[in-house]
């Protein structure tokens, strides 16, 4: 018989009759939507409005100037040239490596993957600084070595050129091509290639006529990603481009904020910038969509490794070269500079830790920058992930109207170069009576806004792996929405959220493009401090600070690795086991 103890709460007095969702649920979801509006939608609207606001009322004067002024056209051309060459070199480096790793018996494929990962993680403005120390026309160590010691002046290289800029940028962007191309290569079924070979095609012909067309969409998609990322990088373009008078869109927008600031023009230029980026990302999306159509191979995809014979050592040598140029040279240079009293040919004669002591313990600006960056990265990552969890939950679990729109809004920042985000935030917050400019808060808003797509994506992926019945069974037992979220949903998606947290933390620690317009002396960040010290000519402390920056990223990644392999109490990864069946 039903027990008297069985519990039935009197429903209906919580929330009105007309309210389908209990109050907390509505509040949290509305707050998340509101946050997204404030972080992304409103700044973009103000950017749009600002670009059309002239001296008196609406006008197209800013766009007219941006599209006719010599300075701006040149910046636009330089950015496009930089993007195009970087894309080209990304293919040149990334594609052979991808093919070698996924389809051939090349030795040490692990080294190829590590090279790509490290190259992607290295902040390009640090690589740029390192290369300046090696290849600046007068004082660069290798240039000096070649010219003055070896006596071969024609072997010197001027880093302050478009060539130098492309080299440093491509070292950061080739992993996009590498990753997309190698995953495509791995999903091409070997039977396609075998069919061509049985018909009499040679290995080379098969690769060019069968394999290449199959993975072409992936290569193009990777190249476009490389393009979009390349043109958005402020740091390397300022460090390498400005001395050689190569002005690009980010550096031109940055210059517009010199006194007197030209907000309207900066906004118009930013919108053009967004246009280019979004067009490239749209094409990239189209290409990737096509890829799945071409190389559908199902579960049976198997690929046979091609025996390259001695040629494989050639490919291996190529990879080693990339490893040296992308990792060993820049980090070797930075470590050497950071340990030397005065950077020069005989730097190894008087090594010192004084530079580290200076940036860590003596100079309060760098101390403040380190603490600010740690605080901001921690907060930004946490907020982006929690916000992402709620937005992801709305998208995956509810039938709320407009949830697709919300999802798109959360992805928009992917198309925003950092400096454009900063311009938009300035336009928005300067019109409000809240004095946010120059505070840590506006930096936090910029970071959360920029990286919210990573949080949403991490949450979405995790939530899709958790069967809804796990949440529903808690509801039936009497748990409210909030309680279910806290006790069931969040613990189950924790591994995914943690991965998302790191995905945000790492880029925020090294964020420069947006910070450079938003910082003040009290809210200075690590990357900005590196850039400012470099501008002021503190060669050796800059290197020490750069190494501190890398150390923080390294520790974060090691922690991630450790936590990913650690399964508390021998529990299986929650996502994989969620709703496990017999």
């Amino acid at each position: 018989m039903p027990s008297a103890r069985s519990l039935r709460r009197t429903g209906g007095n919580r929330g009105g009759r007309w309210l389908r969702l209990p109050r907390l649920e509505t509040c949290v979801m509305s707050a998340a939507v509101l946050a997204l509006v404030v972080l992304v939608v409103l700044p973009l609207l103000f950017l749009l409005v600002g670009s059309f606001r002239g001296e008196e009322g609406l006008s197209l004067e800013h766009f007219a100037e941006a599209l006719t002024g010599r300075l701006y056209l040149q910046a636009l051309r330089n950015s496009l040239v930089l993007g195009a060459w970087t894309g080209f070199f990304s293919i040149l480096i990334g594609l052979p490596m991808a093919w070698a790793v996924s389809r051939t018996n090349v030795p040490a494929p692990g080294l190829f993957r590590v090279t790509a990962t490290l190259a992607y993680l290295s902040p390009p403005f640090l690589t740029a600084i390192a290369y300046v120390n090696l290849f600046s026309p007068n004082a660069g160590l290798i240039n000096v070595l070649m010219r003055d010691v070896a006596g071969v002046p024609w072997l010197t290289f001027d880093i302050f050129t478009m060539g130098g800029l492309v080299l440093v940028t491509a070292l950061h962007t080739f992993p996009f091509v590498f990753l997309l191309a190698s995953s495509a290569l791995q999903s091409v079924d070997a039977s396609y290639e075998e069919a061509a070979q049985i018909l009499g095609a040679s290995k080379l012909r098969t690769a060019l006529r069968v394999t290449l067309p199959l993975i072409a969409p992936a290569i193009l998609a990777g190249t476009l990603l490389a393009f979009v990322n390349a043109i958005a990088l402020f740091g390397s373009q300022a460090i390498l481009g400005l001395p050689g008078r190569i002005v690009t869109l980010p550096t031109r927008i940055y210059a517009l904020f010199d006194y007197p600031p030209q907000y309207g023009l900066a906004s118009a230029l930013s919108l053009l910038f967004i246009l280019i980026t979004v067009a490239a990302l749209y094409l990239q999306h189209r290409f990737l969509a096509r890829r799945s159509y071409v190389t559908v191979a199902g579960k049976g995809a198997r690929s046979q490794l091609i025996d390259l014979g001695p040629v494989r050592w050639l490919l291996f040598g190529f990879c080693v070269l990339v490893f040296v140029v992308a990792i060993v040279l820049p980090y070797g240079a930075l470590i050497a500079v950071s340990l030397s009293k005065s950077w020069g040919l005989s730097f190894w004669q008087n090594l010192t830790l004084a530079n580290y002591r200076f940036v860590l313990f003596e100079y309060n600006v760098t101390q403040r920058a380190i603490l600010n960056s740690l605080l901001l990265a921690t907060l930004a990552a946490t907020i982006a992930v929690l916000l992402g969890a709620v937005i992801g939950w709305i998208d995956v679990r509810t039938r709320a109207p407009g949830r697709r729109l919300l999802d798109y809004a959360a992805l928009v920042p992917l198309g925003l170069p950092g400096i454009v985000m900063a311009v938009a935030l300035i336009q928005f917050w300067l019109t409000l009576p809240i004095a946010l400019y120059g505070t840590l808060a506006i930096l936090l808003l910029a970071y959360v806004g920029r990286y919210i797509p990573l949080g949403v994506r991490a949450a979405n992926t995790s939530l899709r792996q958790i069967d809804p019945s796990l949440e529903e069974s808690a509801r039936v037992l009497g748990a409210s929405w909030g309680r279910t979220l806290r006790e069931i949903t969040l613990p189950l998606i924790r591994p995914g959220l943690f991965a998302g947290w790191l995905l945000v933390f790492v880029p925020v620690i090294q964020e420069l493009s947006a910070s450079i317009l938003l910082f003040s002396s009290s809210s200075i960040t690590l990357a900005v401090a590196v850039y400012n010290l470099y501008e002021t000519g503190y060669t050796e402390p800059v290197a020490a600070l750069a190494m501190v920056n890398m150390a923080i990223i390294g520790v974060a990644l090691l922690a991630a690795n450790w936590l990913a392999s650690e399964r508390p109490h021998g529990r299986p990864p929650a996502a994989a086991r969620a709703g496990a069946t017999a």
């Binding site: 039903p2 389908r20 019945s469």
Partner: protein, 378 residues
């Protein structure tokens, strides 16, 4: 009293214009009953269960639980305020909580004191034979054990109504049989109203006090297992409740609820028939394979038909025969394995007319070729 009263319930998914998942369903589930919603996949039975649980809002109609209105188009009492229990097809045992933590969750929500909670969990654990496994994680349990954790978790809060969504479908045959027995006992012992969803007619027959057969989003029949099996309300129900021979027939004569039917050429049979049968009317007669008797040699004194064995399949506890009558009507027959016949044998066929059902054939469907002997088992 914790009965469920459903009136005119409708729900369609792709907006109101889309195909209805469930339409105009009315059902009275009495207190203390084991009621099964039975139907093929996609028939709307799970939708009905989720409507009862409060996960979805009906497009029309009402649900009263315990004489309280809990669901209507305008207002739905959220699941957490219904005090029901639910066992999911995939068990939904939380992988990050131990067996004990899983089971005690509902008690914590009800602010039960730690001591009482401990005692009640111990009881529930004993009830489902899991004693000693309290500190295990779900990943360390077998499917059947996880299933029982899900049961204990629902039972420990002593709901008046327990909803079960195909809880046995992921278990192997032997375990399924055992859990079936345990569920039945559990329902008797606790007196909780069970609403059980399954597509397995054997499971429904074995467990239920009453079965609601749902097909195409509509309730086809609601009755005891015996009724539903031997007095199916429509050919859809007859077809779904196990193997059946559905044969076209014509009414020859009718009187007082009895009708004489002619099946094929020259074979007549007298059966009970509801409604107002008219001579000349085309009907369908449903004959279960076990209501047919085969004999060899033919009994001299009884009237019988003659058929030839065309196929035989030994299934262990029964033998399944395909036989063909002289007028080429094919029949499925199931007999005790000791009664053995060889392919090609001419056997005497006797049909137990008392076990047959007759359905009127809608005029529009007359052109449809008759399906015969279609099984609906797994």
């Amino acid at each position: 009293m914790a009965g469920i009263t459903i009136r005119g319930l409708s729900k369609s998914y792709a907006g109101d214009a889309g195909p209805a998942a469930i339409s105009d369903l009315s059902l009275d589930i009495a207190d203390n009953q084991f009621v099964t919603l039975l139907g093929p996949s996609g028939c709307g039975k799970t939708t009905t269960l989720r409507l009862i649980a409060g996960f979805i809002t009906p497009d029309a109609g009402t649900i009263h639980a315990d004489d309280r209105l809990v669901s209507s188009r305008e207002h739905v009492v959220p699941p957490e305020e219904r005090g029901m229990g639910m066992v999911f097809q995939n068990y939904a045992v939380w992988p990050h909580k131990t067996v004990y933590e899983n089971i005690v969750f509902g008690l914590k929500l009800r602010n039960v004191s730690a001591r009482e909670a401990r005692a009640r969990v111990d009881n529930a654990v004993a009830l489902v034979n899991l004693t000693g496994l309290e500190d295990r994680l779900p990943s360390e349990l077998s499917g059947g054990q996880q299933q029982r954790v899900a049961l204990a978790r629902s039972l420990v809060v002593e709901p008046k109504i327990l909803l079960l969504d195909e809880p046995l479908s992921n278990l192997d045959a032997k375990l399924r049989e055992r859990m079936r027995g345990e569920l039945k006992q559990l329902q008797r012992r606790t007196g909780i109203t069970f609403v059980y969803v399954t597509h397995d007619q054997a499971e429904a027959l074995a467990l239920s006090d009453k079965i609601a057969v749902i097909h195409g989003g509509r309730l086809q029949q609601f009755g005891t297992p015996r009724d539903v099996y031997s007095r199916p309300a429509s050919r859809v129900v007859a077809d779904f409740m196990g193997l059946v021979n559905l044969l076209p027939a014509t009414v020859v004569a009718a009187e007082n609820g009895r009708a004489r039917l002619r099946i094929g050429t020259g074979w007549t049979m007298e059966v009970d028939m509801a409604g107002t049968p008219r001579p000349g009317q085309t009907v369908e007669v449903a004959i279960r394979p076990e209501s047919i008797r085969l004999q060899l040699p033919a009994p001299a004194e009884q009237p019988h038909l003659v058929a030839r064995i065309s196929e035989s399949t030994f299934l262990g506890n029964i033998v399944d025969y395909h036989v063909v009558l002289e007028d080429n009507t094919a029949l499925r027959v199931q007999t005790h394995p000791l009664e053995q016949f060889a392919i090609g044998d001419a056997v005497a066929v006797q049909v137990d007319a008392g076990q047959c059902s007759v359905f009127e054939v809608p005029v529009l469907d007359q052109g449809e070729p008759s399906r015969e002997a279609q099984g609906a088992g797994e």
